[in-house]
Symmetry: C2
Subunit: 255 residues, 2 copies
């Protein structure tokens, strides 16, 4: 067995569960031996059947009832409690002997990415190679200011986990082709993002945004976005090539 793990991370509503479901389905069609892992104790309906599911151990609704917590407190408590089941999850996962696991993370990114338990899970859920996919929601990111906010969030996530990170533009079927092109352009040619910021902002706001984008570019932080759609499977071939490079030295997972 040579397992690889791909964690799917992004803001609430950015399409993590849909991507997990659709991309794993697509990989199965390519005869890749892939399983899905759900780490979201607050998920109610998932658009896929997880092979390993943290909700076997803890759910937000249970935590609300058992400890008399509100949804906020229960979500944090449940996300933290996942960490105590990392050994059980690992045993379940390795028993399936897959070559690749797509790992869906909690709906609210911050309870996973910016609390100790999330880092603990990424570091301790098996010792196999790992990568992370950070999702840019195409509907949200087409506004240049939001695109920049997403760059900062992606940087924060990268700083937190420090595993190889791919950047994906989701929901491309929901925006115009022109908008997809525009955002992919922004991600690979910072000058175009700067121009868009110039056009959309005025005064101080423009100056500050420009300085910050320039700074991030100078630091060599690069976010080439892979446009995908979990509805049409568009872009999954490209996404897969990038992930194969990140976790399997460019090879297929299953031969």
């Amino acid at each position: 067995m040579a397992l690889r793990l791909v964690f799917v991370v992004g803001m609430a509503g950015s399409g993590k569960s849909c991507l997990t479901g659709a991309f794993s389905e697509w990989l199965r069609q390519q005869e890749q031996d892939v399983v899905t892992v759900n780490l979201d104790p607050g998920a109610l309906d998932l658009p896929y059947e997880p092979d390993v599911d943290v909700r076997s151990y803890v759910t937000v609704v249970d935590v609300m009832e058992r400890y008399g917590l509100g949804p906020n407190g229960a979500m944090i408590a449940a996300a933290d409690m996942i960490a105590t089941y990392v050994k059980e999850l690992e045993v379940e996962l390795e028993a399936l002997e897959p070559d690749l696991a797509i790992v869906d993370t909690p709906g609210q990114m911050e309870v996973f990415a910016f609390r100790p338990s999330g880092l603990f899970i990424v570091e301790n859920l098996t010792r196999w190679p790992k990568a992370l996919v950070y999702l840019f929601d195409a509907c949200f990111s087409r506004e240049p200011g939001n695109f920049v906010a997403n760059i900062f969030l992606a940087s924060a996530v990268y700083h937190r986990f420090f595993v190889p990170q791919a950047h994906v533009l989701t929901k491309c079927d929901l925006v115009e082709r022109e908008d997809v092109k525009k955002m992919v352009g922004w991600s690979s040619r910072p000058k175009e993002l700067l121009e868009a910021l110039e056009d959309s902002l005025t005064g101080d706001r423009r100056l500050i945004a420009r300085d910050l984008v320039r700074a991030v570019c100078r630091a060599g932080a690069s976010f080439p976005l892979i446009p995908v759609s979990s509805t049409t499977y568009e872009g999954f071939l490209n996404l897969n090539m990038v992930l194969e490079r990140l976790v399997a030295a460019g090879d297929r997972y299953t031969f």
Copy 2:
């Protein structure tokens, strides 16, 4: 009436509600005419009695029951629904005729800061001067990598709202004095943060962190942190001086 609004924003568990309660109490002791506004539809127990409360209009638990949603979906739906009550909230708020309103925001920062409704509320909840307080949790931020992640998040928030922003280090009573000094040093003297990163990281991770911090510093993004404690009221005098500058041209709110 000359109302000013201060929005309290930070990651889940960073101390938003405690700061809202303690700081408003302290301001009352200084004979300032202050009210509190709760914008978190998911709050169960608040450490203060909000004068204006979004839960009069919508709660996460109601949304879960009424629409059969899980906690994730209900939290997003409820946060979005707040926006439809902005007029009602404004009428309630202005009827109180305060000179200052401290506005507590939803527990999960991303459902407020990075969804359309949050921006809509900050822009449309009255036409009075506004500022934002971004919270760095001292317990989380004392690790240099987490401190950097928080800088990126604070930048993302700034880019999203573009209102004057103060940066506060919360829970200073829970960490050693040495750690407080260290973090305040990192925030005002980037060189010290770079040194801490050098010590705590190795290899590639060190190089990349260094480049990014340098870039943010070069861009003039400055995050002088105001250390506070909502338990001991330490630092509230300083926080208030900064907020008076941001929203009241350096004057007191109430004479």
